[in-house]
């Protein structure tokens, strides 16, 4: 019984939230890894692209709430998500046309593209703050919990319940659907195969008659769509904070490099590893150990490896470890 309680506690505070967070990171990391694979540079503007897509979704959600459109018990944001995706795709294609294409034509050094992407990041950040302001926005409506703590306690007959928020389930379902669609696209369709060929060997792909501009455009469309979905889900699950998206870059890059650059499967794997380590390292295991230990005993401290203030340090440590031990990532990626 005590072991079950410990497990329930662990599931409630670590497993469930980390899974949702991992799914959000995975969607972001997939976009970064695709751009790494096709355009061959570290896209620092990806975080702000997530933020931009989320912002468009929020504005659309507010519009729908005003108009009385609702799909209760689901959050209205799901209905607004396509608008956010469309806005992000438009923005990504516009930045490519106005900024990145020039350097691609010049065959610039990837590091120049990375610097330019930092410029894009700040322009996007400025636009977002001008439109929606720098403050936190909450836009979740609909049912809050699918299973709340009290019901699950009663149903399981335990002291500890497992609460599952609706946003967490939605995150997981949407992420799974999007990822399956992406892998189907990459494996089965002509365009997807063209993309993979281009990523493997650019010159060979050109010789085979693959249009580079088309591949690049598709890459931006997919990356932007993934970013908008990831950003909206992240905002829905927590709250939308414009400032968080500059910090979330680090876990996303860590996940991308851990999985292997240009490797979609690796990105998903890396994202979940980063998410689970981050939540586990910053969780205080005191109560869990108290359940597992002898009756009436509890550890003295919190048994917390790192305070939550340092959760970004976890991604950094993972990043450093990967660079030291296996710079190619789990699934061998592109390393010059």
């Amino acid at each position: 019984m005590e072991i079950l309680n410990a497990l329930a506690l662990f599931a409630n505070f670590v497993f469930v939230p980390a899974t949702a967070y991992g799914a959000q990171l995975a969607l972001g990391a997939l976009g970064v890894t695709l751009i790494f694979g096709i355009l061959r540079f570290a896209n620092f503007s990806h975080g702000e692209m997530m933020s931009f897509g989320a912002m468009a979704s929020i504005l659309a959600t507010w519009g729908m709430q005003e108009a009385g459109v609702s799909i209760a018990p689901f959050p209205t944001a799901l209905l607004a998500l396509p608008i956010g995706v469309a806005a992000a795709i438009g923005m990504a294609l516009a930045t490519d046309r106005m900024v990145f294409r020039f350097y691609r034509k010049q065959r610039s050094n990837p590091i120049v593209m990375a610097i330019v992407s930092v410029g894009v990041m700040f322009v996007l950040a400025g636009i977002i703050r001008l439109i929606i302001g720098p403050d936190d926005q909450s836009f979740a409506d609909g049912e809050r919990f699918i299973i709340n703590a009290r019901d699950s306690r009663a149903a399981l007959g335990l002291d500890e319940g497992i609460a599952i928020k609706q946003t967490q389930v939605i995150t997981l379902v949407v992420a799974l659907a999007v990822m399956s669609a992406l892998f189907w696209f990459l494996q089965k369709t002509r365009s997807g195969k063209a993309m993979r060929a281009y990523s493997d060997d650019e010159d060979l792909a050109l010789l085979s008659g693959i249009s580079p501009e088309r591949v690049v455009a598709i890459c931006w469309i997919i990356a932007a769509a993934l970013a908008a979905i990831a950003g909206t889900l992240y905002g829905l699950d927590k709250t939308y904070k414009p400032f968080i998206f500059m910090q979330i870059l680090l876990p996303i890059f860590a996940a991308t490099i851990l999985g292997g650059i240009g490797q979609p499967v690796g990105a998903i794997l890396g994202a979940f590893i980063v998410a689970y380590s981050e939540v586990m390292v910053t969780y205080a295991f005191r109560k869990v150990l108290a359940y597992l230990g002898p009756e009436g005993w509890a550890p003295e401290g919190l048994v917390q490896l790192l305070s939550t203030d340092y959760k970004f340090a976890v991604s950094f440590i993972i990043l450093v470890a990967v660079l030291l031990i296996r710079p190619t990532g789990i699934i061998r990626g592109k390393v010059i």
Partner: protein, 438 residues
């Protein structure tokens, strides 16, 4: 130095004089001092990007380390804190040393497949052992008079000592990150520096026993006289009268700014002299060769990774020096003020606008961009007021735009970077072409 350089510097000087005559000399020197510090930071970044093509996204972290050094060197020690927690701190340091020794010993003794897990296990145990001593120590330190101190304090040395120390600390951090990330893909360094800067800021923000965290350290001792003392000195009153100053306190504040300006210009001159010498030396030629064609340079027997590490560490040291100077000028360390836009990105825009690879360009970029940065806020407000003027009083839309005016800086700086990179990638003062280089 050619005519273009003289012309551009002259123009910048004129603009500052203009501010002096039409706004006030205090404002002009306030801007000038920060311009000089920005120029030093830009020189540091130029060593990394301009000489070697290394993209450092963590300038903020290295500047903050310099700022932390200023606190740890110059603030008076808090005796009570050392008394209550000194023993525990010593034990924590011992535990740390023990862990390091154990790891080294274990890595020598244990065969290869078990090496990683054993290292990891020892590190984990060590971490908890250190925590046993360290946790109570920090609690005790933070409990001492939390409103006024609640931290260990510093060494109580003159603040000028902190400048080279800040450079050393930043160089150490740069060496650590460079060892890990250099020699791999170029983007890895960028991502790794992004990470370390976030972590340095987090440490300064949350480790209250070290830096008082978000409670800020104020009243860092100055290397120059205080205004309140000056106005009572006879020689200063005579000095002020000689120049016909009408307001004594204003004259004192101007005098303090002048002292700072002299100090900063001296540092800038020294750094500039070294930077120029380095750039013109065979070492500088080698760095450019590595930057322009890595493979060729490696084929000529140059150790690319080692040279990159060298120049990266030097650049970080200069950023740390500038960070210590900045904290000295401010007289306080406010961890929340460290934001990437101001401390990383702005410096980048300076280097790229000024002319990457050219030290004179980087310095000019520091002056121009800092001036724009200071003046952008009033301009942004004015612009937003003008745009929203046609809207009725109390219109929500207009209020929203006015409240967002501060963020026009993001747009402005991002825009400058993109435009310069696209249309004038060589910047205001381009790098001297290799043919004519001395």
């Amino acid at each position: 130095m050619n005519q273009r350089v003289l012309l551009l510097y002259g123009l910048m000087g004129l603009v500052l004089l203009f501010v002096g005559f039409f706004q006030s000399w205090n404002v002009a020197f306030g801007i000038f001092n920060l311009c000089v510090i920005s120029a030093i930071m830009a020189l540091g970044v130029n060593m990394q990007w301009g000489y070697a093509g290394l993209f450092n996204v963590g300038v903020m972290g290295f500047t903050a380390l310099g700022g932390l050094a200023a606190v740890l060197i110059s603030m008076p020690p808090v005796a009570a804190a050392w008394q209550v927690a000194g023993g525990d701190l010593a034990l924590s340091v011992l535990a740390l040393g023990g862990t390091v020794v154990a790891v080294v010993a274990a890595r020598r003794a244990i065969p290869r497949p078990l090496k990683m897990p054993a290292t990891f296990l020892i590190l984990l145990i060590g971490y908890f052992v250190i925590g046993v001593f360290f946790g109570p120590a920090t609690d005790k330190i933070e409990a001492i008079d939390p409103a006024l101190s609640g931290y260990l304090g510093g060494l109580g040395l003159p603040v000028l000592v902190a400048w080279p120390v800040g450079a050393l600390v930043a160089a150490g951090a740069g060496w650590f990150i460079g060892r890990i990330a250099l020699g791999l893909r170029a983007d890895y360094l960028a991502i790794a520096t992004l990470g370390i800067s976030e972590i340095i800021i987090a440490i300064i923000k949350y480790e209250e026993w070290l830096s008082r965290g978000v409670k800020n350290v104020t009243g860092i001792p100055r290397p120059v006289p205080y205004e309140v003392d000056l106005v009572q000195q006879d020689w200063f009153i005579g000095f002020a009268n000689f120049f016909g100053a009408s307001d004594l306190s204003e004259a004192a504040s101007l005098f303090v700014k002048l002292c700072y300006a002299l100090l900063f210009v001296a540092v800038l001159a020294v750094v500039m002299w070294f930077a120029e010498r380095a750039l013109r030396s065979p070492w500088g030629r080698m760095m450019r060769a590595i930057r322009d064609n890595r493979e060729a340079a490696a084929a000529m027997g140059k150790d690319v990774k080692k040279r990159h590490l060298q120049t990266f560490v030097l650049g970080c040291a200069v950023c740390g020096l500038a960070g210590a100077m900045l904290t000295t000028l401010d007289g306080q360390l406010t961890p929340t003020s460290y934001i990437p836009l101001r401390y990383t990105f702005l410096i980048w825009v300076m280097v790229i606008l000024g002319g990457s690879g050219n030290n004179w360009g980087a310095v000019l970029g520091g002056f121009v961009i800092w001036f724009l940065w200071v003046q952008a806020e009033p301009l942004g407000n004015w612009f937003m007021q003008a745009v929203t003027a046609p809207f009725p009083e109390g219109s929500q839309f207009a209020d929203h735009l006015v409240s967002g005016a501060a963020y026009t800086r993001y747009l402005l700086m991002g825009g400058i970077l993109l435009v310069v990179m696209r249309f004038a990638p060589r910047g205001l003062i381009p790098e001297r072409s290799t043919g004519r280089a001395a």
